[in-house]
Amino acid sequence: MASLLAQLESLSQAAARDIAAASDEKALEELRVRFLGKKGELSAVLRGMGALAAEERPKVGEVANRVRDQVESLLDGARERLAGARLEAELAGPPIDVTLAGRRPLPRGHRHPLTRAAEEIAAIFARLGYEVASGPEIELDWYNFEALNIPADHPARDMQDTFYVEEAALGGAHRSGSVLLRTHTSPVQIRAMKRLGKPPVRIICPGRVYRSDYDQTHSPMFHQVEGLCVDEHITFADLKGTLAAFARAYFGPGTRTRFRPSYFPFVEPGAEVDVSCSICGGSGRKDGKRCGTCKETGWLEVLGSGMVHPRVLENGGIDPSRYTGFAFGMGVERMAMLKYGIDDLRLFFENDLRFLRQF
């Protein structure tokens, strides 16, 4: 018995020594097998118990169990020590390359700058209570011209070079020259008034328009946003306030507006609206040089507007003796060019991804 107890004692000491010296998990596992495994040293000691007297066995068994617990706890402690050391080493070790690109399978696509600009314009007017309206792009002469106080043979038609549609291809009974591609979004004014039936009317209409003109600064297709507000007691002052508020929202809080008399057949009185140059802040000079955007004038012409002509209200089914209204229109290309610093109209329609990806 004494020899068994001595073996257990030396086993315990050897385990304590070797476990303390172990430098990694693998060494600890080997030590566990060596001391506590089925074929390990403790099992070998216990196999010697068979030769002991029955009353001696519990005594030795008790010691053996204590040694087993002791070794296991030493192993656990050593594992914890090693894991802690490893974590410390990891935390103190070299960093990963944080400059490598994130693991994103696909970059997001980009919204076209014209859509961005139109959405922003529409969102500003939505906050002012305007509803989005729409109308056809292949339009009747009546809506595009006649109803807007631009009769046939009127010189104002020269202001807009018109694309005409082959009416035979439309299937309906159309007079020659009576179907065209809308030259502006203004026909939506008439359609909206007729649809809504009675004021208040507050609509905004973004959309494609077409004019037969194609060079560096003209595109045969471009985009406009039209606005219309009709009710009792609507005045030019309301038009001024609305567009001034819009200009500040779109171009920035310091933006000033200037109204100049002009002629659009569907309004009376009519006005062109200039905003202070968004590039040079209205000074006409940028970085000590002439501002090319406003050509040193400090002003940018961006909107056409006016009080809705009584004949236009009538054509929309609204009584001009009771109601007044204002209308305005702007070119989305111009608004986008000013906002994003785009200097070439043609870029909008080339759909070069190197351009589109910038937005």
Binding site: G109, L114, V165, S212, F236, R258, L353
Partner: protein
């Protein structure tokens, strides 16, 4: 309209107002000044100089050494000169040392072949005033040495380029602009005096006038000037015309143009000897009639064209252009001068019909001043007599079937405030309108009637008068307010919300937005409207334009795909190979027969996309594989999800322009077609010069909006646990996954079945594939037991075996 300030100042005092200030104020009242040109700019250092001596250059045969008097008592200067067209005593331009000529040449003191030269004597070309470089510009002998050359040449003028809007033909003349200037400065208009001296036989005995179309010609007045001598115009007149962009032709023709630019009324001079019967008849053209116009073109006339005729035939296209036969020529001695008023619409139609836009037609189609017919005639006749000699015969031969009725418009004093939001006091309104020539007629407490001056063809209603007030006062005086309208909550149409979500979905899937023209070339659309066996796809042809920019932009798109294919090709040509583009736009079809509404065509909103290149840009972690059908399908699935469409069906094949084996049509649960997706048909790809393997899709936005719901509906999270089982099924290659999944889902306890692997190859025989499906069983009301799940699984295996659409065996 180009306005000379020098000329303008004859009719209104401009003292104390700079050109820039005038330009600003004209713009402020609606006459936008788009350009301001100072003539003689760049000639500051050039003065008139008299040549005192001239000798041959000692060292150069072609040069001379001159001394010149540059005025101001300065000592004579020695100048070396290469020209020979002068004589001693001539006055010529001298560019002094330190000056810079318009061509950029800087004049410095120099030695030419050893002889000192202090300046340069100039030709017209060197001054930039003319192309003549043949010799020195010889000035009139009475020009004093030292006179700035700009003044000596009458170039001390400022030209304003005024953008006259179509409603203001009254401002297409110097007198018209002078009226505006006088009103805005509060000064008087000085009308040009016609020093008309009449003598001899009455005009009425020399010519007759008859109007057969009084609805087209309200008045025709003529004068006769006899004994004229055709010749060049004096320099001052030619210069004025040329400054305004009108070429000087001869004294008589120039007189009509001068009167036009001065008074705005078009006039025409006939050679009276070539007017058969000395008779003018105003009538419409006869069927088949022809006329040779001044530009030597023979014109086939339309019965609607208005003609000025003599006894025998047409001699001018009324209000548009004269005829060659009765043209003023070098030998003309007797002139019949026409001043008439033609109705605008007819002139415009004739001008457009013949593609002839002239100074005359431009004014008549906008509306000439009926009150100016006779004053302009008198003024021009006096000018002719002054410039070309001759005698004005007494009287006007005047046919005046439709006298002008001055319009009267009532202004209520309250109206400006109602329309502008800012009142205009009565006294101010009267002052402004009076200054602009509106005569007050009947006034009462509420308002007054104003007679519209004959030149203001744009004013006919009360709002027009309000505009006169506000444009004169300036919009600056109007305050800024916001409309007081009852608050409303505008509803965002469901379609708009769907569109926003579609954009989000595609951009999330890596697609960038394209914007293409709505018109394309017919050949680009053709492959999309025919199947590849040449059979026409159902549906009508594209709508053509009558006057396209070019045939490349000749028809309205019936599909967005051709434009996107062009975009893909363009990007690939720019070495951008990974292309993902989408567009949301309308397509245009003829309306269905008998369709209601007043929209001339059927416009539908589509969303379409193209993709080519790699699934993801090759990075250090992922990417590099080429996209295939399932990438395009993922984009469409993202669209369906964004639109809230559930239960969509995918069926092979897709549209005819897609690869018949690598494409699908997509329909909603109710069977309505949503769109198509797939690999581009190899032959279509070839037609667009694109490589194979490009993917494309096109769906109807309206159909997506109709079939989807943007509002999710909550279902309770199941309280009981699920049982999971996988199965692997071997089927024929041609069996589509959906058939297998449908058979599995037919079992009531199946909550979800998801296909997670497709395997082909050993040990499976060729032509067969294995589909691995994960099945989740769940009972809604209890915990499902394993035996129950096993039984359900067994039923599924049996169904897959017996279903004729599947005929699958469990994989061993």
């Amino acid at each position: 309209m180009r306005i000379s300030l020098q000329w303008l100042s004859e009719y209104v005092e401009l003292a104390g107002v700079s050109a820039e200030e005038l330009a600003r104020r004209l713009t402020a009242v609606g006459l936008e000044v788009e350009g301001l040109t100072r003539l003689g700019q760049g000639l500051e250092g050039v003065v008139a100089a008299r040549i005192l001596t001239s000798e041959r250059h000692p060292n150069a045969e072609k040069l001379s050494v001159t001394t010149v008097d540059r005025g101001g008592g300065a000592p004579p200067l020695q100048v070396v000169c290469g020209a020979r067209n002068y004589a001693v005593g001539d006055v010529v331009p001298l560019a002094t040392v330190g000056s810079v000529l318009p061509g950029g040449q800087k004049i410095e003191k120099a030695k030419l072949r050893g002889v000192e030269s202090s300046g340069m004597l100039c030709s017209a070309r060197e001054l930039g005033t003319d192309a003549d470089a043949s010799g020195l510009l010889i000035l009139p002998g009475n020009v004093a040495p030292g006179t700035p050359i700009a003044r000596a040449l009458g170039l001390d003028d400022v030209l304003l380029e005024v953008n006259v809007t179509p409603n203001r033909p009254d401002c297409l003349s110097h007198i018209g602009v002078a009226r505006e200037v006088a009103a805005l400065l509060g000064r008087e208009v000085r009308h040009p005096a016609s020093r008309l001296a009449e003598a001899g036989a009455p005009a009425a005995s020399l010519a007759r006038v008859r109007i057969d179309a009084p609805e087209r010609c309200a008045r025709y007045a003529a004068r006769v000037v006899e004994g004229v001598r055709i010749g060049p115009s004096p320099g001052w007149l030619a210069r004025r015309l040329e400054a305004c962009g009108v070429r000087s032709i001869s004294n008589v023709v120039d007189a009509t143009n001068y009167a036009l630019l001065e008074l705005g009324h078009p006039l025409h001079a006939f050679d009276l000897d070539k007017v058969a019967g000395a008779e003018i008849v105003v009538r419409t053209a006869r069927p088949g009639e022809k006329l040779t116009t001044l530009d030597a073109k023979v014109r086939d006339l339309d019965p609607e064209d208005l003609l000025i005729c003599d006894r025998d035939r047409g001699s001018a296209l009324a209000g548009v252009m004269g005829g060659g036969d009765s043209e003023i020529s070098a030998g003309t001695t007797r002139v019949l001068l026409e001043s008439a008023w033609f109705a605008p619409a007819g002139i415009r139609r004739t001008s457009r019909r013949h593609g002839l836009k002239t100074e005359a037609s431009y004014r008549f189609e906008r509306g000439a001043d009926q009150g100016m017919v006779v004053p302009a005639l008198d003024r021009c006749a006096a000018l002719i007599a002054e410039l070309a000699g001759g005698t004005v015969r007494p009287g006007v031969v005047d046919a005046h079937p439709r006298p002008h009725q001055a319009l009267e418009v009532r202004l209520r004093w309250s109206r400006p405030a109602a329309l502008l939001g800012s009142p205009v006091p009565q006294v101010e309104a009267r002052r402004i309108l009076g200054g602009l020539g509106f005569a007050e007629r009947a006034a009462d407490a509420e308002g007054a009637r104003f007679a519209v001056p004959s030149w203001r063809v744009d004013v006919s209603i009360e709002e027009d008068l309000v505009e006169e007030l506000v444009r004169t006062q300036g919009y600056d005086r109007i305050p800024e307010t916001l409309p007081a309208i009852a608050a409303a909550t505008p509803l965002e149409p469901a379609e708009a919300r769907t569109l926003a979500r579609l954009r989000e979905a595609l951009e999330g899937a890596g697609f960038s937005e394209a914007v293409n023209f709505s018109f394309v070339s017919e050949p680009d659309l053709a492959p999309l409207r025919y199947d590849l066996e040449g059979r026409k796809v159902d549906g009508p042809a594209a709508i053509p334009l009558k006057n396209p920019i070019s045939t490349d932009l000749g028809v309205m798109r019936t599909s967005l795909v051709p434009s996107l294919l062009r975009n893909a090709a363009r990007n690939r040509a720019q070495r951008v190979d990974d292309v993902r583009l989408y567009e949301i736009a309308r397509v245009y079809h003829p309306r269905a027969p008998g369709g209601a509404g007043d929209e001339p065509s059927a416009e539908g909103l589509r969303v379409a996309g193209v993709m080519a290149g790699r699934r993801a840009p090759p990075g250090w972690a992922v990417g590099g594989e080429a996209v295939d059908f399932y990438d395009a399908k993922a984009a469409v699935e993202a669209l369906l999800e964004a639109a809230g469409v559930t239960g969509a069906r995918w069926q092979s094949p897709g549209a005819g322009w897609l690869h018949p084996r690598h494409s699908a049509r997509i329909s909603a649960a109710d069977g309505s077609v949503l769109g198509t997706v797939g690999e581009l048909h190899p032959r279509v790809a070839a037609a667009f010069e694109l490589p194979r393997g490009l993917l494309s899709f096109e769906l109807s936005c309206e159909a997506l909006a109709r079939s989807g719901s943007l509002t999710p509906q909550h279902r309770a999270i199941p309280p009981f646990p699920a049982v999971l089982r996988d199965l692997a099924l071997v089927v024929e290659e041609g069996i589509q996954a959906e058939a297998v999944l449908a058979a599995i889902r037919a079992e009531g306890l199946v909550e979800e079945a998801a296909l997670f692997d497709v395997y082909r190859g050993a040990p499976l025989p060729a032509g067969r594939k294995s589909l691995a499906v994960a099945i989740r069983y769940r009972a809604p009301d209890r915990t499902l037991t394993d035996p129950e799940a096993d039984a359900a699984h067994g039923r599924i295996v049996e169904r897959l075996r017996s279903d004729p659409a599947v005929r699958g065996e469990l994989r061993a």
